[in-house]
């Protein structure tokens, strides 16, 4: 290997650095060659003594990455540092897997926390607007506590029950689904003197169940809801919203602080390893 092939190999191995950083290093090695040649050494001797350009480049890159990371602790710089250290063989797979797992958990935590906080914020704002301005109307949005789908749903859609009327053979066989004036739904099935009717409130709770066969009758009503009061009021929504907001915020904070701890641990670990490597390869 002569001067040009050494510098060429070094330049290629340093391609991930910025042009300015690369040029500075190459210039220094070029001037080292110039000094050595002026001193009477042969190009091949100097190149051999300087060692493997690829190995040299790995160390120089790791050093730059550590410096960049110490100056600005961004995730981009951390990633670059991890890649550079992995190339040095310091950060092994056994260490990388739990770190990646932990990172995945933290990411999940922040996503869940973020969506909870967002839902809470929407609820609080809606409830406050409802309490203060009477808009939107209580049945315009619905709090979904089923655990499936969005926490807040557009209530105006679900309150529109379909109107269905199915007529049987005679005038006494029919199934009807009708919307009541208060937003509730009435379902009635009849066959001759037998009828079954179910009335639901606008919020989905049962208002009345009525079963008859001629003179025999079972009627159940007064389930504790009456008319529109069955809607959860702005207060309840506001409180639920605040709880969600707090919970989401807590999760986010937890994720962030754990993230910070992980980063500082990684930084310390990588820093120690790098320093160790640098000391003992010098």
């Amino acid at each position: 290997m002569n001067r040009d092939t050494f510098l060429q190999a070094l330049s290629e191995a340093l391609s991930t650095l910025s042009a300015a950083e690369r040029d500075e290093i190459l210039q220094d090695y070029a001037s080292y060659f110039a000094d050595a040649l002026a001193d009477g050494q042969s190009e091949t001797d100097v190149a051999t003594k300087l060692g493997d350009p690829a190995k040299l480049a790995r160390e120089l890159i790791a050093q730059r990455r550590l410096g960049a990371w110490e100056q600005r602790k961004s995730s981009k710089n951390l990633w670059a540092l991890c890649v550079a250290t992995a190339a040095l063989g310091v950060l092994n797979l056994a260490l990388a897997i739990p770190v990646l797992f932990y990172l995945a958990v933290l990411t999940m935590l922040s996503v869940v926390g973020g969506s909870l906080a967002l839902a809470g914020l929407v609820l609080v704002v809606l409830a406050a607007s409802q309490g203060l301005f009477g808009w939107p109307a209580p049945n315009q949005f619905v709090l979904n506590t089923s655990g499936i789908g969005p926490v807040v749903m557009d209530g105006s859609v679900s309150s529109q029950a379909p109107q269905i009327h199915i007529q049987g053979d005679g005038p006494h066989e029919s199934v009807r689904v009708e919307q009541a004036a208060d937003g509730g739904v009435a379902i009635q099935a009849s066959e001759g003197s037998k009828t079954f009717s179910l009335e639901k409130n606008a919020d989905g709770s049962i208002k009345k169940i009525d079963m008859r066969d001629g003179d025999k009758q079972v009627a159940l009503s007064n389930f504790g809801h009456s008319g529109n009061s069955g809607h959860s009021g702005p207060w309840k929504r506001g409180v639920v919203g605040l709880v969600l907001l707090t919970l989401g915020g807590l999760l986010l904070w937890l994720g962030r602080s754990a993230f910070g701890k992980l980063l500082s641990w990684l930084r310390r670990h990588l820093g120690q390893q790098l320093q160790h490597i640098q000391r003992f390869t010098a």
């Binding site: 220094d28 001037s31 002026a38 001193d39 390869t281």
Partner: protein, 117 residues
Amino acid sequence: MNIALKTQLRKGAIEMCVLAILKRADSYTYELVQQLSAHMAISEGTVYPLMRRLQDEGWVQTYQQESAAGPARKYYRLSASGTEAVAMMTQEWQEFVAEINSVLQPRPTNLTQKDAP
């Protein structure tokens, strides 16, 4: 074993040696390597990363100076904190050597004191 120990010690002490040379006079990479290799076995390629490290620590500063032959050279100069660092390292080194020596070559007075009772 002995060779390994010497290698480890040399690697640990090389920063101190470079700083000590720079304390006497400003220098550039090739000259530093020549001065070091006159006294100890070093791997030349790693001197540049080592100089980077000393720069990052703030112990040395660089400046360009025209050379008689060829392009301008990068010279290294000891900074104020580098001067402090090399003084501290030298002191620690001498204390360390004294400790090791007193274990390896106990003075006769110590032996007599120990044997006396």
